[in-house]
Symmetry: C2
Subunit: 225 residues, 2 copies
């Protein structure tokens, strides 16, 4: 069954939510902002995130932006903040719906179902700031242009974008693409990096993949650095 992650520090409210969702058949995982919420959410790979904004440790807005850039969602903000500016801000940063507490369980469920239905047919774009990557179709959008990537190019790009601003280890990339292969030439990754860089050049994204000698590769630029 679909897994929903709840990011909420209020224990009472959290349990109430869990009860509602579990009755509806969802598998629920709750995360508080005192743990390492971002990593936990990603590793749970939920089909929907319910997010409170009033977290003592970390701004809900930051979580929104972080998750959206990595193509994780949908995000439903459920908060007691009923100010319009909060709603506008959340929606702008990537929240997909914004409900204020108290919220009738049926409304919550209806909105959850709507978002999940919308997302089922969506091609999620990984956002790197000045370009977006459709990881299902392997298409790169740069301003008004777009270019289609090959399977290999898409896989590499996906890893780089998701890791921003970290460095992706070359072993990691190698294993991901050729880990199950019998034997491949040792420079296969380099060749494919050259090809990807050339493709990026064609759409004006030059010098965006940095080589970190001995370690791996890193996507640079965009809105994150």
């Amino acid at each position: 069954m679909a897994k929903i992650v709840i990011v909420e520090d209020d224990v009472y409210l959290r349990e109430e939510l869990e009860s509602i969702l579990e009755k509806e058949g969802y598998s629920v995982e709750s995360i508080s902002s005192f743990d390492s919420p971002l990593e936990d959410i990603i590793s749970a790979s939920p089909s929907l995130i319910i997010l409170d904004l009033n977290l003592p440790n970390l701004s809900g807005f930051q979580i929104c932006r972080y998750l959206k850039a990595r193509g994780i969602g949908p995000i439903l903000v459920l908060t007691s903040r009923n100010q319009l500016r909060d709603e506008l801000h959340a929606l702008e940063l990537g929240a997909d719906d914004y409900l204020t507490k108290p919220c009738h369980p049926k409304r919550l469920i209806a909105r959850i179902q709507k978002l999940q239905h919308l997302y089922a047919n969506m091609h999620i774009l990984l956002d790197a700031g000045d370009f977006q990557l459709d990881e299902k179709a392997n298409v790169l959008y740069v301003g008004k242009n777009s270019i289609s990537l090959s399977e290999n190019e898409g896989m590499i790009m996906k890893s780089l974008v998701k890791a921003v601003p970290s460095v992706v280890k070359k072993e990691e990339l190698f294993n991901q693409l050729w880990g199950s292969s019998e034997y491949v030439d040792e420079n296969i990754l380099q060749v494919n990096m050259t090809r990807l860089r050339k493709t990026l050049d064609e759409v004006g994204l030059s010098n965006r993949i940095k080589t970190v000698r001995g370690i791996g590769y890193q996507l640079i630029g965009g809105s994150y650095q």
Copy 2:
């Protein structure tokens, strides 16, 4: 610029909406339920529909369902009905968001932008009952299976599905695929029909394209016949 269709009978409210949206740069077309709203909406091919529920001639719910079945949207319901059951009903029938009047212009605009953004990345599936066609990606979904169609196969399939249950004239298909070509062999359509049929066979969709001798081809079966 993006076109928004407003379905609203209250003249005053309609003009207020038009003013708000036009200030935001949208091109707006208003439709009242006294005309032939369904056809008008489709022929306007809007990028979003703002729908009132309290229409004297036709239920807003009916409009929702009608539009959704034809893959037209997104639909934003904007109504004075603030009962939960109305919202649930509208969402279930295909509305993508539900706002109650009075609604702050900024909230309306934010929700509109959110929906348009979601839809821009959505692959709408043409529904033929027992299978679905993703016309952007040329992928055919049959139950839990899916198969990727070639460009030609996808174009033909798209025409057939959209025309169901009518016959598509062979000249029409020919012009659509090879109309701009210098010269092509006269049996090119037949060859491609054979290929498409063979591909459909592979996913269990046998004998679904009927030849109408002298006229063209017709998709049969599914939930429409």
